[in-house]
Each structure stands twice: as structure tokens, then as C-alpha cells.
């Protein structure tokens, strides 16, 4: 009997909760019309001017309102890495006047990929940017559900072309090549290191191999022999390989104990740990993906450069191409580059910096090639 009473009490409470919810739901419509009221006010304020209406996300289904949505991988929009760089590309497309509405959704669990992409798809967005290779399958699947949407998959290699999906990839080997050549030219001990995430992820492997190839190229130019240590954190799982700064720091320290005086960190927070340790020990630190001088203050004073995927312009260009209809599907390649020397610019000899400029141009025009295959053989 007591249990029955308990149940009744619960039902009462449940109805109280529901009742409490109702005002919020009925308040909502009074909130919602606010944006639509704006246009009616605008003409009265300036009757001669054409009404300037700020479009909202609710206008996205309209053809004339160009909307771009971004879905992050499990992570934050301000991760100082892929998510952030891609989002800056989206923001740039807004600044350039290409996109009218830009919005993002941060993913908190892998099972939500499809739902988060679908939130933009249902809202009539024109372009959906999905960040990271883990969203690859969900992106391809969404392209079927939302055939009118252009998808930009950052770092998503397309094994087969899907209509509506442009996979934005980068020549990581070229970026690694550039900083490898720089590290080999700047090393006094002629020993340099790289601490990377797992080589199972092809882009990470290409960074590491490009680094080796770049060092060898610089040796050929400078007449030196540089010993290159490249270590991948392949002994742990995906949840750990990019998020293990202690391991990164230890590995970098042991490389420096062996005489290395420049460390390239390629692999998320693991790499950050490595280059922070390197910078604190006074060695050159080399970042990855974005200009980490700006994002990793602990290593900034000794940050020589960063192997950059130019994600921001890559995303912005693809959004512009989606708008004017010139977008191509399948794999699209952005550019690689290297970041400025910042605080250690005074230590870089003029001949090294001019060699780097020449090398960068040569890689872009194809007169120098890295000879790194797309995936680990």
C-alpha cells in the first residue's frame, strides 16, 4: 500500500514537472517572433532605405541565405587545433561575405555524429563542415540523407568519391618535409627528433616520414649528416595516443639526452608535451597543424616553427567554391606550410631562411617532391 502511495506521489510530481515545463514552451513562441518583428520595424525607421534584415538561422532554408554549419569531433571549438582552425575558416567565409549564417555544434559523444550533422541538415544549411577523420562515415551517410547539402570533411580521406562530399586533405609530408629541413639546418649537434601520435593514422605517419625526408634533403644541401629520431606512440589506443603529454615529454627528454637539440611534436597533446619539454630544456620546439607559437605559450619562447596544414584558408576556399558551384567532390588538397620563427628569428641565419623560402616554393610548384607514399606501406 505504501509503495502504491509512493507511485501516486511520483505521478503527481511528474505532472508538476510537466506543468512547470509548459510555461517555458508557451513562452518560447513569444520569444521566437522577435526576429521576425525586426523587418516590420526596420522599414518604418528608414522608409526610403531598402529594409536591412539580419537573417537568422531560421532563414537558412531560403535559397538567398547561405548558411554554413560546423560539427566538431569529440572536442571543443577552441581546441587550438583542427576544430578551431576549421571554425576560423568558416568565420573567414563569413567575413568575406560568402556565408550569411555560421554556426557550430560541439560533439560530446561519437554516437551523436549523425544527430549533430542532421541538426544542420534539417535546418536547411547549405554547407556542413565536419572536422576530423572520425566523422568520415557519418559525413558520407549524411550526404545521402541531405543531397542538397555540400559537405566539407576536414582531414577525411575519401577512399571512394561520394556525391556532395569534398574531403579536405593536406600534404602532411610536405609540411613535415619543410620543418625537417629546417630542424636539420638549425641543429648544432646534427641530431633531431620527432615525437608523434600513432603511425596508424596516415596523416601522422606522413608528417613523421616527411620530417625524415626533409632532414635528408637539407643534409644534401648543407653537406651534413643528421641523425633523425622519429618515435610514434603506437603502443596505446586511440583514446590515449594523442592525449599523453607525460609520455611525450619523457620521449623528448630521452631524445635530448641522446643529443637531439630540435624536437618536432606531431600528435595532439602528446606532441605538445614533447615540445614543451624541449623548449624548457632550451632545445628548439617545432609545432604541428597550426602555428603553435600562438597556442602553446609554454613552448613559445623556443618555438622554431610549426608544420602547418593551412586548414583555415582551405575551408574558406571550399565554402566559397560551394557557393559559386565550382566545388569538386572526392579528395581536395589544401596547402602545407611552415610557421614564422617568432622569438627565435634572430637565431635563424639568412641563408637558412632563404633556403626555406625556396624550398616552400619548390614544394608548392612540384619541383621538389618528398617521395612519401600516401599510406604506410
Amino acid at each position: 500500500m505504501k509503495k502504491l502511495n509512493m507511485m501516486i506521489a511520483l505521478l503527481v510530481i511528474a505532472s508538476v514537472i510537466l506543468a512547470a515545463c509548459t510555461p517555458a514552451a508557451t513562452e518560447a513562441p513569444t520569444q521566437a517572433p522577435a526576429p521576425t518583428e525586426a523587418p516590420t520595424e526596420a522599414p518604418t525607421a528608414a522608409p526610403t532605405e531598402p529594409p536591412v534584415v539580419e537573417p537568422t538561422a531560421a532563414d537558412c532554408p531560403k535559397a538567398e541565405v547561405f548558411c554554413v554549419g560546423l560539427v566538431t569531433d569529440v572536442g571543443k571549438i577552441n581546441d587550438k587545433s583542427f576544430n578551431q582552425s576549421a571554425w576560423e575558416g568558416v568565420l573567414q567565409s563569413q567575413t568575406d561575405g560568402v556565408a550569411d549564417i555560421v554556426q557550430y555544434i560541439e560533439t560530446t559523444d561519437a554516437k551523436d555524429y549523425a544527430k549533430n550533422i542532421g541538426t544542420f541538415g534539417d535546418a536547411g544549411f547549405d554547407v556542413i563542415v565536419t572536422v576530423g577523420f572520425a566523422l568520415g562515415e557519418a559525413t558520407v551517410a549524411a550526404a545521402t540523407t541531405y543531397p542538397d547539402v555540400n559537405f566539407i570533411g576536414v582531414d577525411q580521406f575519401q577512399a571512394a568519391e561520394t556525391d556532395g562530399v569534398a574531403g579536405l586533405n593536406f600534404p602532411e609530408d610536405q609540411a613535415g618535409f619543410l620543418v625537417g629541413a629546417l630542424a636539420a639546418s638549425m641543429s648544432k649537434s646534427h641530431k633531431i627528433g620527432a615525437v608523434c601520435g600513432t603511425d596508424v593514422v596516415p596523416p601522422v605517419w606522413r608528417f613523421g616520414e616527411g620530417y625524415k625526408a626533409g632532414a635528408a634533403y637539407a643534409d644534401g644541401m648543407n653537406g651534413t649528416t643528421t641523425e633523425v629520431f622519429v618515435v610514434y606512440h603506437s603502443d596505446v589506443g586511440f583514446d590515449k595516443t594523442f592525449t599523453d603529454p607525460e609520455w611525450g615529454a619523457q620521449t623528448a627528454t630521452s631524445m635530448m639526452d641522446n643529443g637531439a637539440d630540435a624536437i618536432f611534436g606531431c600528435g595532439g597533446i602528446t606532441g605538445n608535451g614533447a615540445i614543451t619539454a624541449a623548449a624548457q630544456a632550451g632545445a628548439y620546439a617545432i609545432g604541428v597543424d597550426t602555428d603553435q607559437y600562438l597556442t602553446l605559450p609554454e613552448a613559445a619562447p623556443r618555438m622554431l616553427s610549426s608544420a602547418m596544414k593551412l586548414i583555415t584558408p582551405g575551408v574558406a576556399e571550399l565554402i566559397a567554391a560551394a557557393k559559386d558551384g565550382s566545388i569538386t567532390y572526392g579528395n581536395v588538397f589544401g596547402d602545407a606550410g611552415y610557421a614564422p620563427y617568432h622569438d627565435v628569428a634572430g637565431e635563424v641565419p639568412a641563408e637558412v631562411s632563404s633556403m626555406m623560402e625556396t624550398l616552400n616554393a619548390a614544394l608548392l610548384d612540384g619541383s621538389v617532391v618528398t617521395n612519401v607514399p600516401p599510406v604506410k606501406p
Binding site: K3, N5, M6, M7, I8, A9, L10, V12, I13, A14, V16, I17, C21, A24, A25, E27, A28, P29, Q31, A32, A57, V74, K76, I77, Q103, Y104, I105, E106, T108, D109, A110, K111, D112, K115, N116, T119, F120, D122, A123, F133, A134, A159, V200, V201, P202, V236, G237, F238, D239, K240
Partner: protein
Amino acid sequence: MPSEKQTNSLSKFISSLKQFIEWIDPILVPLLAILTSMIVGGIIIKSVGGDPILAYKGLLEGSFGSVELGPVKSQRAISETAVWATPYIFAGLAVALAFKGGLFNIGAEGQLALGAVFSSLIGYALPGWLGVDLPTIIHLPLAILGGLLMGGIWAGIVGALKAYTGGHEVINTIMMNYIALNSTSFLLNGVMKDPSPTNVIARTPLIAESARFAPIFDGLRVHWGFVLALFTAVFIWWLLNKTTVGFEIRTMGANPDAAHYAGVNVKRTIILTMFLSGALAGMAGAIEVTGLNYRHELGFSQGYGFDAIAIALLGKSHPIGVVLASILFAAMRNGATRMQFLTQMPVDLISMIQAFILLFVAADAIVRFIFRIQSKGERVVLTRGWGG
């Protein structure tokens, strides 16, 4: 002068009002804690320049739909809330059951992961091993049973350690979490990794069709695992309140010495309680695999086992309370997407509001002080701490 009858009915009314307050008391504090944390959350949203009403509107629409959103999207919103609630209910029941026995199972996360791993193994590999295609009626229960047993055994080890060596279950479940999660990572990167050539993600192959729950409705992701979760909650309530085993668990939770003198085999009951708790957590993982993801992947099931502790606390370890708390947490996690879509506020805010709810539930004196509620009766002892 009022007649005897009137006095009677008045005192009857007062006594029934008192009774009502007594029934409502156990959930009054959680409800007010939710309300308070929503207000605090609203102040935070406002202080960072957001619109709290729009944010909560998004949260509500995203989790339960609305007229404005239309029937299709509303159905999908409710379905997704149920999808989120499913593992929460199982894992929340797991922690709640252990609480009832005076045990603190922090290892639900690891038990859940191992349950998911073994459920997927049975799901994708068993037909190959046997060389026959299994019908769903056999394969699906086997896949769930695999996860259930794995989780149960994993937690049962901790129970045995406590029963025979006195090793505290809090420390041991945390340590077993490390072993479970790293083994999962090892297996998913190694022998159990999806061998298809384009796959670079640490995940198992897809399980066979015969090991999958059917969706309840076409086009929505909510599956029969959700219904099973609700039945399991009823079953656990029955187990705890209507059976000898449940009585022994509750007696042990209230006072193990008294239980011992009353003739309860305390050692056996500790192991059994941990086994049942782990089995429920393992089931959470197994149901995620068989009902939703059809495989296990490292990105799935982020922290359900830890949310489950919060859910069990919020639900006061009562199975129905756990279901309600699970639905609340599921709604918040699911609605967060739409909240972010509408307001562009960080989803971390949801975690903050969840944390506030717990803070106010755990430190219920704060809520009781704010709303001037007097504490009645003895306090529910969740776990007996280090001396236990």
C-alpha cells in the same frame, strides 16, 4: 463549536497532507536542487552574454520536441532522449544496487566497456566460430548475456576481494577501471580491430544482424533496449523489495554486523551485490552495442559509468528515481545539441548544470536552507565509507 465529525475530517485532511509531504519529501530535495541549479545555470548563461530562456527552450525542444519544431523532429528528439537514457538507466541501476548494499561501485565505466567489448565479440564472431547462422532469438540474448556476465565477473572480483581480504571496493573498482579501459583499448586496437582496409579507427567489426535489437519505430533510433531498461528497473525494484536476496542486500547495506547476526551470509552477499551491480553495468554496454551502435568503438560511451554515480545519487538509489534521473540526464545531454545550435553556448554549460544539481543534492542542507525545508526522519545512508 465544530462537530466531532468536522474535527475528524479536518484532522484527517491534515494528517493526509502530512502524509503527502512525507511521500514527497524524498524527491522534494532533488526537484528543488534541479530548480536551483537551473536558476544558477541561467545566471551563468546571462553573465556570459547568453539568453537563458532561449538556451532552456533549446534544451527542452532538443530533448522532448515542441509544436514549433513539428512532429517529425519532435519524435526524433524524444527518441534520441530515450537512446541516451537507455545506458544511463542500466548503469544508474548498477550503482544504485551497490549503494543499497552499502557498496560504492565506481567501476561501472570499466564494467560497461568490457560488457560492450564482449557483447560485440559474441555479436560478430560467434556465428563464425560455430559455423552456423544463429537466429536472433538465440544470438541476441547470448550477446547480451556475454556483456552481462563479463561486467558481473569484473565487479564480482572486487566483491570477492572485499569479502575475503577487506580490500576497499572504492579503490579496487577504480583500479579495475584502469585495467578494463586499457584492455578495451588494447583489444580494439589489436585482435578485435575491424580488419576492413580503410579502417583506421579503433573499433570492432559490425555485429551480425541476428545480434541486433530492432528499432521500435521505423526511422527512429530508439530501440527495444529502452523498454528492456524500464523492465529491468521494475525487476530490480522487485528484487530489492520482494525477495530474500534483496532483503539481505538491504540489511547488509543498513548494518552488516546486524545482518551477520541475523544469519545473512555477508561475504556471499557482498560478492553477489557486486556481481549484480557489475552485470547491470555490463548490460548497459551490451545494450549500446546490440541496440544502437552495432559495434564497440573507443569514442562511444564517454563517461556513462561516472554519470551513473550521479544518477544513482540523484535518484536516491530507488529504481524509479534512477529512471527519472536517467531521463533528466539524457534530456540534458541530448538537448544540449539544440541548445548549442540556437545559442552557440558551450556544451560544457550542461555539464556545469549537472554538477550543480549534484552539488545541491549531495549538500542537501543548502537546498533545505534556501527553501526552508526541515529534515525529517533518518538520513538515507548511501555507503558506509572507509570503516565499512
